[in-house]
């Protein structure tokens, strides 16, 4: 009987807290808790990161691991550069629409933020950064890796902290295009941190290794932001659309610092 009463009372308390949380009434409390906890979290992450590396690799392969990390970063930067150059090529060949968008972003402004926590639930792909509304961060802002590829969008802002929903989250959908063929589609996240590009027209030429960037369609993301590379293409001849598996350019599971693109203002287009 006592257990039942406890279950009812605590269950009701939890439901009430969820409701208040959804209304944003507990945001100051969350901000306060994160202010206290973030230095400890940062310390724990500093300790855990090498421990995780150690478990991932044998001790004598640490140099190789470091080299691999640097090479991955270089690949990401170079791929982003290639994507940017290819985009410039298209602009140069008189694609007026693209040029307009490019010219509308003369100088991007970034805010460097440190990753302090990651959602541990397995069901969401989110991470906390140490910048909030006091630093000018707002919901919907674009978050990029140091290699300048897309990481995600700001989904919740507190005074001093913000939560970023990664592109690999199951609720994330990004309008994208394959740079080589200009084929458009939607890149969605899935559980286990994978990315897939859906709604690719059947006649579009898409091959493994192709570069996937944001298309800018919808106005909530800038154009030509690197997302990743096509890993595999699926779909039968009779399918209306094809699907591609996309390997994210950024190493999303090991992000330490990110860049918040503060200069881009998302436009939410209403249906006509």
């Amino acid at each position: 009987m006592r257990t039942l009463v406890w279950l009812l009372v605590v269950g009701l308390f939890a439901l009430l807290a969820i409701l208040l949380s959804q209304l944003g009434a507990l945001d100051p409390l969350k901000n306060g808790a994160l202010t206290v906890a973030s230095p400890l979290e940062r310390g724990l992450r500093t300790v855990a990161s090498p421990a995780a590396d150690f478990l991932d690799n044998a001790a004598d392969r640490q140099d190789l691991e470091e080299e691999n990390r640097l090479l991955r970063q270089q690949i990401e930067e170079l791929t982003a550069e290639i994507a940017s150059l290819k985009e410039s090529e298209f602009t140069a060949t008189d694609l007026a629409g693209l040029a307009e968008v490019e010219e509308s972003r003369p100088g991007d402004q970034f805010l460097v933020a440190r990753v302090i926590a990651r959602d541990p639930s397995n069901l969401k792909e989110r991470l906390a950064i140490d910048r909030g509304s006091d630093d000018g961060v707002a919901e919907g802002m674009v978050v990029m890796s140091q290699g300048q590829s897309l990481v995600g969008l700001i989904s919740k802002v507190l005074d001093d902290f913000a939560w970023v929903t990664l592109i690999t989250d199951t609720n994330s959908n990004v309008n994208a295009m394959v740079l080589e063929s200009r084929a458009q589609g939607v890149v969605s996240g899935s559980l286990h941190g994978g990315l897939s590009m859906d709604l690719i027209p059947q006649d579009a030429k898409v091959e493994p290794g192709d570069t996937v960037t944001t298309s800018g369609l919808g106005g909530n993301l800038p154009q030509a932001l690197l997302i990743g590379q096509v890993a595999a293409v699926r779909g039968e001849a009779q399918d209306v659309f094809r699907k591609a598996e996309v390997e994210p350019a950024a190493s999303l599971s090991r992000l330490e610092n990110v860049l918040v693109l503060t200069s881009f203002i998302a436009t939410h287009l209403a249906s006509p």
Partner: protein, 170 residues
């Protein structure tokens, strides 16, 4: 009431989980040490103490994660009835039943968690979530159980040697 001295330790487990669990994935999922600690605690020391620890630890975890406050408390609730049920079926050793109960608690945790996320419009796909998260996470948490069960067991045995247990059935 001496168990309240362990509250900071339980809160630290929640903090460590939020900060570092993603560094140590297995089967594509991360562990839930908070759930495992509380379940081991409830089995070894009786569910009464966890009735205090669950609201404290769950609320703290939600405050420092992206979850709405209260989700973890709700998802951790099944620990108490599971431990109470386990108490009615005494066995010679607690260890094997603890493994089974942790697996059950993990399944209940994720089911309740997904229900709340779906209700607030943040839900993952259920079929994919069940296959790719709920079952592997239950296995991972079960594998993690000895790491937490043994210290809780030893600490309890040690404290009983100093002072006989005052474990009160509920």
């Amino acid at each position: 009431m001496r168990y309240l001295l362990f509250v900071p330790l339980v809160l630290f487990v929640a903090l460590a989980q939020v900060a570092t669990a993603s560094y140590f994935p297995l089967l594509g999922v991360t562990a839930n040490p908070l759930l495992v600690v509380l379940m081991c605690w409830a089995i070894v020391r009786g569910p009464r103490e966890t009735m205090v620890l669950i609201p404290l630890a769950g609320t703290f975890k939600d405050l420092i994660s992206s979850d709405p406050v209260g989700v973890s408390v709700l998802a951790l609730l099944p620990i108490v009835p599971l431990a109470a049920t386990r108490e009615r079926w005494p066995t010679e050793s607690d260890f094997l039943p603890t493994l089974a109960v942790v697996a059950m608690a993990s399944l209940c945790y994720h089911l309740l968690y997904m229900m709340v996320l779906t209700a607030v419009g943040d839900g993952p796909p259920w079929l994919q979530g069940s296959i790719r998260v709920i079952l592997p996470a239950a296995l991972f948490n079960t594998l993690l159980t000895p790491i937490f069960y043994l210290p809780v067991r030893w600490a309890t045995t040690l404290s009983e040697m100093v002072r006989p247990s005052m474990r009160v059935p509920i």
